[in-house]
Symmetry: D2
Subunit: 257 residues, 4 copies
């Protein structure tokens, strides 16, 4: 039954030059889709290509993870780009990753904005529309992976893109479906078991389950797990095992049906 | 008759951010193929996209002009990249430009390395092979535009790529077909009429005509004219007019047959 | 009489690598102080050093013109840096220019923020305080060159820095002393003679003279003229001549007394 | 007795943005001088400033560790800069670090080139002279820290700079005093105890002790230990302890007398 398929995604390929981040080989054995940095916040060409190769070897589907141009700030700083410049900036990054995928015999099947660009695109309808327009102009069959109940998801739908909806395993939600700001206590779930229960509850209810207990119905296609930090691999593995024990079968984003 | 077709190419899209270089709109009315900077020596995403749009509107075929990563040095400084890194660096840039072309309803039909990368690839068979491998892994139908009698041309042929052979309108040649080093007097032809005669002589002889008068037979598909400098537009226009008066018809690289 | 001394400043050293901007040698014969790009929005090390050398040879005093790290956007895009990061970013740039000055036997005598950083520091007291703190931590004798009636000027005073107050030759003002937004008609004075009259009126009144005719008294130490654009040199020369004819003597910022 | 003073130096401050490298707080408790990245191969402004602060708090003397502009390659790739550009590039980086030191109440007391720049400056007298000229033009009292028997050391002496001579704890030497290329077996000593014996032998002999057993007399002021890698801290600590047990007292480079 297709409703028992679920996707697990993580941000990977975030090393740069001599600097390592995350344990990509381990995580690529756990997740079913990978959002790969495209050189603007992390991920130089060599790392992009080698991570693409690893992902393809593991049957993990590949997504572009475009960012504001901000290597030093890891794409986490808000920047103000004109719509035309933002659109071109996204095209550039996705195209660069597509070339890596092509050279390795695969293809990019989804796009998920990174960091500050994602935050703004989730809240600002105009920026969201620019992101969706960039993706659509490149390939209208590219999946847009977006948080449920975000402006980004709505913009993707309006643009006619296939949209897949994600929730975060380790983040608490407000009643309106937005992430609780990191500045508030309890915003981040640090305990892996707590993450597992959060994920299972949301899937069971097919709703975002807010910290208050409030339920906001939504379709959930994918669970986002963290790719970095000392507990990332163990936590992701626990979540995957719990999903499988609960009867879900993991599938790449382009295999969800 | 197909031997009367000739291509005229120039390096364009070499502005960056607030800085202008060259008069692209004027040159795009003269040349038949454009080699576009891909962000590593010049050409930010916005400039790449707008230049692609201009080129397509003029019926000018689009080529990627990848470089070493060296914005400050305009890609003119030799760098030592490992073969794997160089290959990924080329893929990245060509892919980024392909995305711009796709978004504008066109496509990248050729690749021509820039600056120091080109110089090295023309002289060093191993680097040439890496360039050819990168292009081929992306699309074996991509045309490699290479100087006649270069290692790069040979590597393209060995890789099975469609290779097109160019000569330079404003550069003097040595007897072995290599460019006379810029440090030598007479290496660069500054007079437009002199360039015209140089080009016509080489086409008439189907040979590289060295400064000594020596003739080195070669196939010539394309004439490279300069895109920058105060005389660039006037000189390119004069060369085009002379070619047309000599009975040649200009054609994009992918229309040479 | 010291009130008859006036400073003329311009943003210079804004070329980068192969790209030229402005006619620095010509402007350095006109202005008495130069704000030099420090590599983050323009100005690579080689250009910094050669412009420092030219300025010293002309007796033009040298200021650092630090920016957000944004070469592609020419420092004109707002970025959100933490106070600690902004402070370190300014220190970095001013220090780099100080080294050039030292190597050429001179010194940096003032600091003037560039572009979006300047706009924000003029309006946001917290950012202004960070800028002033950075300058002060480096050298409490460094002059802060700031627009009259700006938060930046106030922050410099509060930090105990020597502050010099500038007005713009080619910009219309609002009644509260702020620049008229460029989006409004008449915001930029394109006619050189009009700039001359604007400058002379403000100096005569010792006030910002708004477009409405409203006068806002202020001390005026320096006139900022544009360093770029086709009319920059001619316009700056006209303003200088008018100042001299009106009895002013031009002086470097550190010679105003 | 001054000959019983020894310096221990390491390359630190080599994190960048979100990426960590090395355990600087631990190493700053062991070494007596730190070579700090200046933003061109590693070390953004924030990291530079915080590492300067840590070093000063530990009484560790601060050196600039300038590099070719190559963040992605960590400064390990040879680049060809003109003498003027290389000189300006070094000035820029050292000046930026000097500003951090000044803001923290300290000062930069030495310079040691990084990576490929160091390798080339140790072998090429012209590049070495350019490095020495840059340092001297900034401050003739700046110490140049250079490998014993290198062109760089000779250029520093010729320029009248105070030169301090270093040997590497974990590298095998050839008979002529040059480092054994990393491609040869035994070039790098991976065992900490072996490093200790290597260091003590060289100090005892006041000579470079080559892998062959050959002794090349030299003055040794400083031992370079690695700042990165899983064993870096433990190995550096062992070397320090061995030096102290052998009767040496550690001193900052500017305290060697």
């Amino acid at each position: 039954m297709s409703h028992r398929l679920i996707n697990l995604n993580a941000d990977l390929g975030e090393s740069f030059g001599a600097w390592q981040m995350g344990d990509d080989p381990a995580l690529l054995q756990i997740v079913s889709s990978a959002n790969l940095a495209c050189g603007f916040h992390a991920g130089d060409p060599l790392i992009m290509r080698s991570t693409v190769r690893l992902a393809l070897a593991q049957g993990v589907s590949i997504g572009a993870h475009p960012s504001f141009p901000d290597l030093q700030g890891f794409g986490r700083r808000a920047m103000q780009l004109s719509p035309a410049e933002l659109e071109a900036t996204i095209l550039y990054q996705v195209g660069a990753l597509q070339a890596m995928a092509t050279a390795e015999g695969g293809r990019v099947t989804h796009v998920k904005p990174h960091g500050a660009l994602s935050n703004i695109a989730c809240a600002d309808a105009a920026v969201a529309a620019t992101v969706a327009r960039a993706v659509r102009s490149l390939d209208p069959a590219l999946i847009l992976l977006a948080p449920a109940h975000s402006e980004l998801a709505r913009a993707g739908e309006a643009a006619g893109l296939p949209v897949r909806y994600e929730v975060f395993a380790d983040r608490a939600y407000l009643d309106d479906g937005q992430l609780m700001p990191r500045s508030r206590p309890g915003a981040v779930l640090h305990d892996a078991q707590q993450c597992v229960e959060h994920v299972l509850a949301m899937l069971r209810e097919q709703a975002i389950v807010a910290a208050s207990g409030h339920r906001l119905p939504t379709r959930i296609d994918s669970i986002c797990v963290h790719g970095d930090g000392p507990e990332a691999v163990a936590s992701a593995r626990l979540i995957r095992q719990a999903l499988e024990q609960a009867g879900y079968r993991l599938a790449a984003l382009d295999q969800l049906g």
